[in-house]
């Protein structure tokens, strides 16, 4: 299924935090609690970490497999683990109305 961001959602990357997170990644630190983007809609706000942000940015009509294979090239993570986490994360975004799925 293709995944699309809801165009109603306002979002931006947090440049300073992003730079800090990538620096931490290079040094092998755990940066999973460091927000690098913020998303908001009516009454709902989310701050996403590096991985969440990169998944969000790829919700442009790609499917999960495409997103996972792209990110496994960029991040040191097992594809199966990433796929499971990504699916959970995307389902949560879909439940909040931040993304929508579309049949291929």
């Amino acid at each position: 299924m293709k995944i699309f961001r809801n165009p109603e959602i306002l979002w931006r990357e947090e440049d300073e935090s992003k730079a800090e997170a990538y620096e931490g990644l290079e040094q092998g630190e755990d940066v999973s609690e460091m927000g690098t983007s913020v998303l908001f809609s009516d009454g709902i706000m989310l701050s996403l970490n590096v991985l969440g942000t990169e998944i969000w940015k790829r919700c442009d009509g790609r499917d999960v497999e495409s997103i996972v294979s792209d990110l496994t090239l960029q991040f040191d993570v097992e594809p199966d683990v990433l796929r499971k986490d990504a699916l959970m994360f995307l389902d949560e975004l879909a439940e909040k109305g931040f993304i929508r799925y579309e049949d291929n």
Binding site: L10, D15, S17, F40, D42, G43, M45, S47, N49, G52
Partner: protein, 336 residues
């Protein structure tokens, strides 16, 4: 993959582009504000400045923003540059043609102030006969024009028992969001607080009922913007990036003369958008630093809800006690 952290710039700017108003609201916070306005060219430059800082949305207010003759041009300038543009209005000047021109100028959402489902109560509170009828008509025109609407209701003594009726009224008129605004005690709201404000226990009863209603209502967002709700321990069904007041953490307010304040109800000027750097203010203002790092005093010092409510509404604490750090006077929690 969700986190919390500090933002590089406000997400939203609430911008009082004019203080001129055609209403005489009994709780008005801006009646005593300066009448000076930035000209359109300066406003354009300021809008470029907030976009460069990373601001995503702008909400025009006042005064009545539609009394500014160049509002549509200003809004178009902002929306064409990617800002999400919205407005709070009393609705009196919105007819079918105006609603269409608001849509063309890029307004995605317009909030209309209606304080009661009963026309005579609203008209009396807002000081203008026929204002309720005009506001209700505005909601329909905006909806027809394809603009999302919200209904803004200032909760006070005239309406705090009317939660269910107000929700039904909002649903009947197809609004996207119903905002129950807490009473701020600023400007005329301060002068008239004895007549309009609720007691702490009445606020508690109101919020318990409103939260229950919020959890039950589907298809319409009900917004309760009061941080003291945290002490109720009721699930809000919405997420915020910050605890306590959002002012100075997610948003800033700009007055008609360009002066920047943490919110519209806090009369402390921390800079001016025309002459100062927004990011410098955002990161270095001592006032914002104090608001973001409140120190619990009095009953807040031992309150188990403090970590979630952070002392409640900073504007109200400041207005009624003279210090942000003091407990919100609306708070119903007794000293432990």
């Amino acid at each position: 993959m969700k986190t919390t952290n500090f933002l590089k710039a406000p997400l939203t700017i609430n911008w009082a582009v004019t203080n001129v108003c055609n209403f005489k609201c009994r709780h008005c916070y801006s009646r005593t504000d300066p009448s000076q306005e930035l000209d359109e060219k300066t406003l354009h430059d300021c809008i470029e400045k907030i976009i460069a800082a990373g601001v995503l949305s702008i909400n025009f207010g006042g005064g009545e923003p539609l009394l500014r003759s160049d509002l549509l041009d200003i809004a178009l300038f902002a929306s064409q540059r990617g800002l999400r543009v919205s407005m709070n209005s009393n609705g009196y000047l919105i007819n079918r043609e105006k609603a269409r021109s608001l849509k063309a100028a890029g307004f995605s959402k317009v909030g209309i102030s209606i304080d009661s489902h009963r026309p005579e109560v609203h008209d009396s509170f807002r000081g203008i006969r026929g204002s309720h009828q005009k506001a209700v008509a505005a909601l329909a025109y905006l909806k027809d024009a394809g603009i999302k609407t919200s209904l803004s209701t200032v909760i006070c003594r005239i309406n705090y028992h009317d939660i269910d009726t107000l929700i039904a009224f909002a649903a009947e008129h197809g609004v996207h969001q119903l905002n129950f605004h807490n009473f701020k005690c600023s400007g005329l709201g301060y002068s008239n607080k004895d007549e309009l404000d609720l007691s702490a226990d009445e606020w508690k009863d109101f919020y318990i009922s409103a939260m229950k209603a919020k959890q039950q209502v589907k298809g319409m967002e009900i917004s309760l913007d009061d941080p003291i709700i945290a002490s109720l321990g009721m699930k809000a069904e919405t997420d915020s990036l910050v605890k306590g007041s959002v002012c100075g953490k997610l948003s800033l307010n700009i007055k008609s003369n360009g002066d920047i304040t943490p919110c519209g109800f806090i009369p402390i000027v921390i800079g001016n958008i025309a002459s100062d750097d927004l990011k410098d203010i955002w990161f270095n203002s001592p006032v914002l630093a104090k608001m973001r790092n409140k120190i619990p005093t009095g009953k807040c010092s031992t309150c188990k809800s403090y970590d979630d409510c952070l002392g409640g509404c900073s504007a109200r604490a400041l207005a009624l006690t003279g210090d942000f750090n003091n407990p919100d006077p609306h708070c119903w929690v007794h000293e432990s």
